[in-house]
């Protein structure tokens, strides 16, 4: 036969109670004829067949009082009130009296008795079998041998205002009564030998519910605690049955005849008849006593916490945290529960960790302690080779037990599946470090468990409990690129994403699309970083992206109209600098051309670098283009570019480019644009293009007459016959008087082909002109001399003779002059004094002449200032064909004089020097 019992432990220590003073076995109840026992408020209470009640306190001192004349039959101790309810007899016969004792009010003869009432159902004399009082002190029920139950409603402590009624009647003696409160309802359980009934007594009408067609015996019924849902427990020989107020609950098949049930904490204590196989009667005072077995069951954790034989058990009580068994030998046996740690250690010894855990939990063991058990259990299972079981335990230790301890164990054992499970749990509990993530992903990839990997990485909206970059890195290393990409995209790790696309799976198209979706600054950064590769692989799309990036970029997945536009605030358009991307095109000049053309078209004021580059591309093309049609087209485009007034190319650079590529049209255009006429000329000269040499001189001779001179010496040196050209040049030089004749002759002297006929006309005309000039000059000299003499005479006159002012009118008001008046030597001018004072800016200057004088003074002052301008002077001197006249001019302006305004010395321009005097 199978072992039909729960596991058995020894979780209680048994001890016989001893007198604290004498240290002898406690025997004060030795001669008491016990009829009832209760406990619950700090003392053990015993009633006897002589009518006494004994109160035993913690120090085991005994108090007694006479409660009834004849005997005590039943006692009930309330738990929440220090009240004792008793039933007994004061008279012979069947005449039970209920008495209520207030144990807080001890008087001489015992506690205060607050109530005495009769308990006789329907005036039928029948012995009381059981008694129960509700803790709310409003209900009390008494069961009788004749099968009736009498219910008292009203204040239990008093006799008055009480109503009693019979709530139940059967033919079999009532064996137990219990109250059970369930919300607003109060149930009374009535157990007889043949039935279990619950009665809802709180309603208007009693609602009866027969729960079972067989019942229990006296003493064989108890209420369980809240852990067992406050169920009624009824012992029967085959099992212990549990009852709810409305139905039967579970049952536990503890076999054997049960004498008493008791509930202590979470334990059900059963006093059973001794097994027939162990008849060991005990001799006591000549009496033979049966042995009973007391078994303590932990209902919740399903084990036997204690079991031992006791002699003829009268009752089981609990008080002061212990269980007391009142033996037939009148000794009190104390059962003390071992502390949790001790119990756990006992379980560990038996490797019964599962039980240890549930026990620890039911004893509200702290987290640390539990973790400790999980660890021990894990270690135990591991050592037995039960890796699956072990990992489950270790998982429960997460957060407390060092993860590396567990990981090392399973790495050593090559238990990847277990390790994976543990690592997953670590992540789920947010306890994973980067190393753990790496390890977990490595486990997945090693196991080729793509599903798990998917779940770990790809699950949408999953809370991220790992280091993203680590995960990307590991996936990438293991070749799980899609996973890595997924993560990178989800978490905006653009660089990772692009590197994987470009370097690993070479999905350039996808990379490009990805960039297109990024915000501007990110997009720009990444194009800079990866543009070269992209250009090499997907040139067209890359170019398109670049165009957008440099003009009106917006991420492709962004709505065309965004919030900004609704708000009316036009979003600031970001664009990249095209010149930063030119290097990306490396060898793809076609794309670069396309790009640059686009940029220039869309943004004509693009920087010069763009134009330069485009020009360079064009020129390069022209040189290398073989197809003549295309070549012409290119040339046209190039010219167009060069001549485009908006084109911002750098002139010097463009020039160098055109020269390098020998692009004639360009070179000449640029020279012209830069006013480098000499260069144009030289260009034609170098190419011996006589026609153009002349043309150039004609075209630009106006701006730079030196061209003709150069042309002269150019043609003069030519050995070819270029008489017409020379003639042309000479005539121009002559017309514009560009060279002294002597120099012309000298120049032409180098030429062997230039005959006298070429220059004859020229020389004659020149000589004639010289003569005319000399004559004219002499005439002027004469005239100046005369002028000078005249001035000298005037000065002399002013100095020596008096001046007669004959003016009759004031020069201001034109009225006849009268005294007082003011006269100036100039003109002469005369004024009324009052007119003068109201007009003159200062009283030493003639108001009429003042304006003219000031002009002259200003000129002098300006000259004085410009005296420092050596630079300007030298420049002018160099540029000038006639250096002498420049020097003469400067000299004339007094540049070389120490001119001060105070001096009277006449400057060249001031022919009328302001001499002033004043007469009053």
């Amino acid at each position: 036969m199978a072992f039909l019992q729960w596991r058995r432990f020894n979780f209680f220590d048994k001890e016989i109670l001893k007198d604290t003073e004498s240290d002898q076995v406690y025997d004060k109840l030795k001669d008491v004829n016990i009829s009832a026992c209760v406990s619950g408020r700090g003392q053990l209470i015993v009633g006897d067949h002589e009518g006494y009640v004994y109160l035993i306190n913690k120090q085991l001192s005994l108090n007694m009082f006479k409660a009834y004349e004849i005997r005590v039959s039943h006692l009930y101790q309330l738990k929440q009130h220090n009240l004792l309810v008793s039933i007994g007899e004061d008279e012979q016969g069947i005449n039970p009296l209920i008495k209520v004792w207030n144990l807080d009010k001890m008087e001489k003869g015992g506690p205060l008795c607050t109530r005495i009432s009769r308990a006789i159902p329907n005036n039928k004399a029948t012995p009381v079998t059981c008694l129960v009082v509700h803790e709310n002190l409003n209900w009390m029920a008494v069961g009788f041998e004749n099968g009736s139950v009498m219910l008292f409603k009203g204040d239990v402590t008093r006799d008055r205002h009480n109503k009693s009624r019979i709530v139940h009647e059967t033919s079999r003696p009532v064996t137990a009564l219990e109250f059970r409160t369930q919300g607003k309802n109060i149930f009374l359980f009535v157990v007889t030998e043949a039935s279990v009934v619950s009665i809802n007594i709180s309603g208007k009408q009693d609602a009866k519910n027969t729960l079972e067609q067989f019942g229990g015996k006296l003493g064989g019924v108890v209420m369980s605690d809240h852990n067992q849902d406050n169920q009624l427990v009824v012992a029967r020989p085959d099992a212990v049955y549990f009852y709810q107020s409305d139905s039967r609950g579970p049952c536990l098949a503890f076999e054997g005849e049960k004498l008493r049930l008791h509930w202590f904490r979470n334990y059900l204590i059963v006093v059973g008849k001794e097994d027939k196989t162990l008849p060991r009667p005990v001799q006591l005072g000549g009496q033979t006593m049966e042995m009973n077995i007391v078994t303590v069951y932990d209902i919740q954790n399903k084990f036997i916490a204690y079991s031992a034989p006791f002699p003829d058990v009268i009752d089981v009580l609990s008080e002061w945290g212990c269980v007391y068994i009142l033996g037939g030998d009148r000794k009190i046996y104390q059962l003390q529960e071992k502390d949790t740690q001790t119990k756990l250690e006992m379980l560990f010894k038996k490797n019964n960790y599962t039980l240890a855990i549930s026990l620890a939990k039911s004893q509200q063991y702290d987290q640390e302690g539990l973790i400790d058990i999980f660890t021990q259990y894990g270690d135990h299972l591991y050592s037995k080779g039960d890796h699956d079981g072990a990992i489950d335990q270790y998982i429960k230790t997460i957060g407390k037990l060092e993860a590396s301890y567990v990981i090392r164990k399973f790495l050593d054992a090559q238990r990847i599946h277990n390790l994976t499970k543990y690592l997953q749990a670590l992540h789920k509990q947010q306890q994973a470090t980067e190393e753990h993530t790496t390890l977990l992903l490595n486990c997945y990839t090693k196991l080729k468990d793509v599903n798990k990997l998917d779940e770990f990485i790809m699950t949408k909206d999953r809370e991220v409990d790992f280091d993203v970059e680590t995960a990307i890195r590991v996936c990438r290393q293991a070749g799980y690129f899609e996973h890595a990409l997924f993560l990178a995209e989800k978490h905006g790790k653009h660089e990772w994403y692009l590197r994987i696309q470009l370097e690993d799976i070479k999905q350039y198209q996808r990379a490009l699309q990805y960039i297109s979706k990024l915000e501007f600054s990110e997009a720009e950064k990444n194009v800079k970083r990866y543009g070269k590769v992209l250009m090499a692989e997907v040139p067209q799309e890359t170019t398109e992206l670049l165009k957008r990036l440099c003009t009106d970029y917006r991420p492709t997945d962004k709505p065309l109209v965004d919030q900004n536009m609704y708000d009316g605030t036009v979003g600031h358009i970001e664009k990249a600098q095209a010149e930063n991307f030119i290097h990306i095109f490396v060898n793809n000049s076609e794309r670069l051309t396309e790009f640059l053309e686009h940029m220039i078209r869309v943004q004509p004021n693009s920087p010069s670098l763009l134009y330069n580059s485009l020009l360079e591309l064009y020129l390069h093309d022209i040189v290398h283009e073989t197809d003549s049609m295309k070549k012409t087209e290119r040339v046209r485009k190039t010219e167009e570019l060069l001549k485009n007034p908006d084109a911002k190319y750098d002139l010097d650079q463009a020039m160098v480019l055109c020269q390098m590529n020998d692009f004639k049209v360009g070179i000449l255009y640029l020279y012209e644009k830069a006013h480098l006429y000499q260069q144009i000329l030289r260009y034609h000269m170098e190419h011996d293009d006589y026609v153009n040499v002349i043309e150039t001189c004609k075209k630009f001779g106006q701006q730079d007459s030196n061209l003709w001179v150069q042309a002269l010496s150019y043609f003069a040196r030519k050995e070819d016959d270029c008489k017409p050209q020379l003639m042309e040049v000479l005539s121009q030089i002559d017309k514009k008087n560009l060279l002294p004749p002597l120099l012309v002759i000298q120049t032409l002297a180098h030429n062997s082909t230039a005959t006298l006929s070429v220059v004859k006309d020229y020389i004659i005309r020149r000589l004639q002109m010289e003569n005319d000039q000399i004559a004219e000059d002499e005439r002027l000299i004469k005239q100046y001399r005369e002028d000078t003499d005249k001035k000298r005479a005037q000065i002399e006159e002013l100095k020596t003779t008096a001046k007669v002012f004959q003016a009759s009118k004031c020069n201001i008001c034109n009225h006849p002059l009268e005294l007082p008046s003011v006269h100036f030597l100039c003109e002469p001018h005369s004024y009324h004094q009052h007119c003068f004072e109201s007009y003159a800016e200062n009283d030493s200057e003639c108001p009429v002449c003042a304006a003219e004088n000031r002009k002259i003074m200003d000129i002098i002052r300006a000259q004085e200032q410009s005296r420092d301008l050596h630079e300007q002077f030298h420049n002018q001197l160099q540029r000038s064909q006639d250096g002498f006249s420049v020097v003469a001019d400067y000299f004339g302006r007094g540049v070389f004089n120490k001119v001060t305004l105070i001096t009277d010395s006449p400057a060249r321009q001031t022919s009328k020097s302001p001499a002033t005097s004043r007469y009053v």
Binding site: M1, A2, F3, L4, Q5, W6, D238, A239, V240, G249, P250, C251, L252, A253, F254, K302, T354, G389
Partner: protein, 211 residues
């Protein structure tokens, strides 16, 4: 917690087939590796949802040991569903099914929905009873059939829920008299029998589309 219906189940079958483990897995989502022999009758409960309705399952886990048979039998009465469990690694537990079935039919109401369960499907290597045999037995006796593993939880939910669905269907079809608690069905506290629910007297209005 309030519920629309309460269904009573019993779990029966030889000792050690995994009845208690199935219950524990269903109610606590745990597995108990040690065999804790059920002594008597234990109890578990869980809420499930069928057709948008909250249904409370009250499950009686009985002891498989022969010696407890008289006690456990008294729990058959008033069960709406039964899980009859055997162990696919032990043929004797399969052979005893007929006895269990007779016992169940005799002590319970005739409408009781019985689900045949071949447990320990995780122990494929030690399989002693073919799946087809289980299916055949179920077909022959008009039972629903499933193989489960209380250890891996495979099909455990399904076993309990499918049984409930079958009972629920029988209620809809008017097979069960829901007002008789002996059928193992109870209407939830605030769900007093409404006229829209079909009773045994005949098919009521269909499409109970109310909240």
């Amino acid at each position: 917690m309030s519920y629309a219906y309460l269904f009573k189940y019993i779990i029966i079958g030889d000792t050690g087939v995994g009845k208690s483990c199935l219950l524990l897995q269903f109610t606590d989502k745990r597995f108990q590796p040690v065999h804790d022999l059920t002594i008597g009758v234990e109890f578990g409960a869980r809420m499930i949802t069928i057709d948008g309705k909250q249904i409370k399952l009250q499950i009686w886990d009985t002891a498989g040991q022969e010696s407890f048979r008289s006690i456990t039998r008294s729990y058959y009465r008033g069960a709406a569903g039964a899980l009859l469990v055997y162990d696919i690694t032990r043929r004797d537990t399969f052979n005893h099914l007929t006895t269990w079935l007779e016992d169940a039919r005799q002590h319970s109401n005739s409408n009781m929905v019985i689900m045949l369960i071949g447990n320990k499907s995780d122990l494929e290597a030690r399989r002693d009873v073919k799946k087809e045999e289980g299916e055949a037995f179920a077909r022959e006796h008009g039972l629903i059939f499933m193989e489960t593993s209380a250890k891996t939880a495979a099909n455990v939910e399904e076993a309990f829920i499918n049984t409930a669905k079958e009972i629920y269907q029988k209620i809809q079809d008017g097979v069960f008299d829901i007002n008789n608690e002996a059928n193992g069905i109870k209407i939830g506290p605030q769900h007093s029998p409404s006229p829209s629910l079909p009773s045994s007297s005949g098919g009521g209005a269909q499409g109970s589309g109310c909240c």
